[in-house]
Amino acid sequence: MKEQDDKELVRKCLRGEKKAFEIILDRYEKPIYNLVVRMVNDREDASDLTQSVFVKAYEKLNTYNTRFKFFSWLYKIAVNTALNFIGHRKNQERLSDDLVSEDTGLEKEFEESERCQKLEDAILALRPNYRIVIVLRHFQDLSYDEMSKILEIPMKTVKSRLFTARQMLKVILTKSGLQG
């Protein structure tokens, strides 16, 4: 039903109805922003990138094929935008890697927020290709099939990448003391 609504909204957008795009924004702004923020771990960057995702989506709306799910199409734009951004920011990623493995000092004082921060840092420590499968599976709750379509990789690769990503994450979390 929602997917049908999405397609109807797209039609309305193509007719120039601004309101329809506002509804799309209401529906997907938060998930796309969360996807991007988990990928880039910077809220300001995530805000800019989310804006870029929706602008791209609007400009390319006439290339969207209704045989596919709208959200898959939109997520694909978001994933590519985030990965491109990360590609340009590689050096900073390395810095985050170091933070993950060495920051243990304030654990007791800010236990919960620290725990969350460590988790976020652990996710960030993963290489983008592994990070994205964790984000899509655990934060966006997407199926293997949906992930396969968005990432344009075989489902078998999705599964193996997800398994490896979880193992890597487990190692990082164990190292940082979050997991025994």
């Binding site: 924004l25 702004e29 094929n65 996710i123 398994f163």
Partner: protein, 264 residues
């Protein structure tokens, strides 16, 4: 050491997508494989830890920023959404018909270009004067209007005689299959037109006798000819065609030479 096939089951168990049979199979495996159980429990803990990561609210201004950066087309709210608009929109939305339309359009354009550029140009007045006497006009039949025709279906002779016209030129096509010698007499009004040439497309030897108001064409067996006349200006009268086998008149008909439009 964990068997590879159980990796996927561990994955699926964590994601809650294992069937009951698969879950039971994994459970049985893990109960006899401590290393596998340790891996599963570790990954499960990681997955549970990820659940603690809270959703982040996007900045309040973000939606407005996005809307401000988009250019929405100005559209009258009263504008009617026509059927044509809907069809166009469907093409925009669906790639398959869109590609099909592009493909078919491409073919149409290709055919059109081929027709335009593979045919000789239309004849100008000067060019007409140069070529009409030679009857090198057959490829240009596209530029002629068919005027009249007669089908000949006799025991000795089969085929057709047709007339065409285009501005200054009148053509008579002569296409007959015959086992005997054929004589054709074509009469015309000298005030209307003048004989200007004969073009043989196929056939044996022929004899042509040209008079002021008629031509007589004699040939043996099959023959395919174009006879051309220079028009003195429309309207002009018909061509009187008579077909003889030897001296015996087999067929007679007055074939119109006016363009179809002017006949209406």
């Amino acid at each position: 050491m964990i068997e590879k096939k159980y990796f996927e089951l561990v994955n699926k168990e964590i994601d809650g997508t294992n069937s009951k049979t698969e879950s039971a199979k994994l459970k049985a495996y893990l109960s006899r494989n401590p290393e596998g159980r340790q891996l599963y429990e570790g990954l499960l803990k990681t997955a549970n830890a990820l659940k603690r990561v809270e959703e982040v609210e996007p900045p309040k201004h973000l939606k407005q920023h996005i809307l401000n950066s988009l250019e929405f087309p100005q559209r009258s709210p009263n504008r009617k959404w026509s059927i044509l608009d809907q069809v166009i929109e469907k093409f925009r939305l669906r790639s398959t018909p869109r590609y099909a339309v592009v493909f078919v359009s491409g073919i149409c354009v290709g055919v059109l270009l081929f027709v335009l550029f593979s045919q000789p140009r239309g004849l100008g007045d000067q060019e007409t004067a140069q070529v009409s006497g030679t009857l090198a006009l057959v490829p240009e039949l596209l530029y002629f209007q068919a005027s009249d025709s007669v089908a000949v279906n006799l025991s000795e002779i089969n085929g057709k005689v047709r007339t065409f016209s285009s501005g200054d030129i009148v053509l008579a096509e002569w296409d007959l299959q015959s086992g005997v010698s054929v004589r054709a007499e074509i009469r015309f009004q000298p005030t209307d037109m003048t004989f200007s040439g004969l073009k043989k497309l196929s056939g044996g030897e022929e004899k042509l006798d040209v008079g002021q108001d008629r031509i007589i064409l004699t040939h043996s067996g099959a023959g395919h000819y174009f006879v051309s006349f220079a028009s003195h200006g429309a309207p002009h009268g018909p061509l009187e065609v008579k077909i003889y086998a030897g001296n015996r008149l087999l067929c007679q008909k007055a074939l119109q030479t006016r363009e179809i439009d002017s006949q209406r």
